[in-house]
Amino acid sequence: MDTKTLLADAKARFSHNSAKQYLKEKYDSKLTIAEQGGLWKADRETITLLGSFDSDKLVVMDTFNNPVEVDRKDLLSKLKAVYEETMSAWLKEWAELEGKR
């Protein structure tokens, strides 16, 4: 039996909350990268912090709470790229899921 028929026979409903949770599990992990001797999450807080300084070098706490001296511009550029790529894929899959239900 194909899954379409199975869902119809079972009168199953699409679960928005579970779909949201699944996407969060999937894409959150893609936001984490290892760079310059630390582990970083390409989130709003880290990107904003890196973007708010002018210096070339900056000491930042990584996700393990270890202070790491980083090349600020280089790390910012990598985190922004990861953020953009991941969030675009997240949005695309969310739209697909909403369309499939």
Binding site: T3, L6, L7, A10, K11, A12, R13, F14, S15, N17, S18, A19, Q21, Y22, E25, K26, D28, S29, K30, T32, I33, A34, L39, T63, F64, N65, E93, L97, K100
Partner: protein, 269 residues
């Protein structure tokens, strides 16, 4: 630098773990581009369908452990360090379904050793994390372990063997039931001991282990073996009635706790 995966599979009267390992190995080969070594016993190899593992290491199974009245051969994971032919190894449960290359990241985010300390369940976001007992540690998970051949990783596996050999003693201290040996519990204790009774965040894989848990069934959306799209169906019990709920997932790894469901998935490609 060599990199590969190692699986342990010993058939039981109820399940053909060798076939599960073949299924898992094909996915590891495809999505992680890694060779796979299998640790098994002579009897289990009779289930072979001809898939060529990188290496097959035959050992004497330890039949001590029983679950639901039948042998559950899950002791011996502590040998993974000694048996792995690779410099960098992924040790996986055979019922872990690889659908992406995400596990390659574990070698970037860890130095010697990494495992999961947090889980999430499809369709059941409110389930709490498992603990050894009320006043003991949060459980670590042996479902996915990444390690390098370093002195520290060796010590962790030696410690795992020590905990396995003294499991009843540790169950007394930490107030969990010792009747069924669980690698997850042994790992939880071994990693703590090897780290000087501390918690090192660098040993933890920085995302959740995704389980397919109770009342949840995974269906494949088509019969192509390497396809990564699934429907997850959940029986949501509310006020004595079942409300069926579903989601569609793709390109995400997960661990199926229900072996019958895993067997069905294998049959459907």
């Amino acid at each position: 630098m060599t990199r590969g995966a190692i699986l342990f599979a010993f058939n039981s009267p109820k399940f053909d773990y060798y076939s599960m390992a073949e299924y898992a190995a094909k996915r590891i080969n495809h999505f992680l581009d890694m060779p796979v070594t299998l640790v098994t016993d002579e009897q289990s190899t009779l289930s072979s369908t001809g898939y060529k593992f990188d290496k097959v290491i035959k050992v004497e199974p330890n039949l001590d452990n029983k679950r639901d009245g039948v042998p559950w051969i899950n002791k011996g994971r502590c040998q993974a360090y000694a048996l792995s032919p690779y410099d960098e190894t992924l040790l996986l449960d055979v019922d872990y379904v690889v659908n992406s290359n995400r596990l390659l990241k574990t070698f970037e985010t860890s130095v010697d050793f990494a495992c999961h300390d947090n889980t999430a369940y499809f369709m059941q976001p409110k389930l709490s994390q498992e603990v050894l007992s009320t006043y003991s540690f949060k459980t670590l998970w042996a479902t996915v372990i990444a390690f390098r051949k370093t002195e520290r990783a060796k010590q962790i596996f030696e410690c795992l063997e020590m905990v396995q050999n003294n499991y009843a003693h540790y169950s007394n201290i930490h107030s969990f039931i010792s009747a069924v040996y669980r690698n997850d519990y042994a790992l939880t204790l071994a990693l703590r001991i090897a780290n000087g009774h501390t918690y090192l965040p660098g040993d933890i894989i920085p995302w959740n282990l995704l389980h397919v848990g109770k009342n949840t069934t995974v269906y494949k959306d088509n019969s192509n073996m390497l396809d990564t799209e699934y429907t997850i169906l959940f029986d949501n019990w509310q006020k004595g009635k079942i409300r069926k709920e579903y989601i569609k997932v793709k390109d995400i790894d997960f661990h199926i706790m229900n072996k019958e469901n895993f067997v069905e998935l294998m049959k459907n490609g």
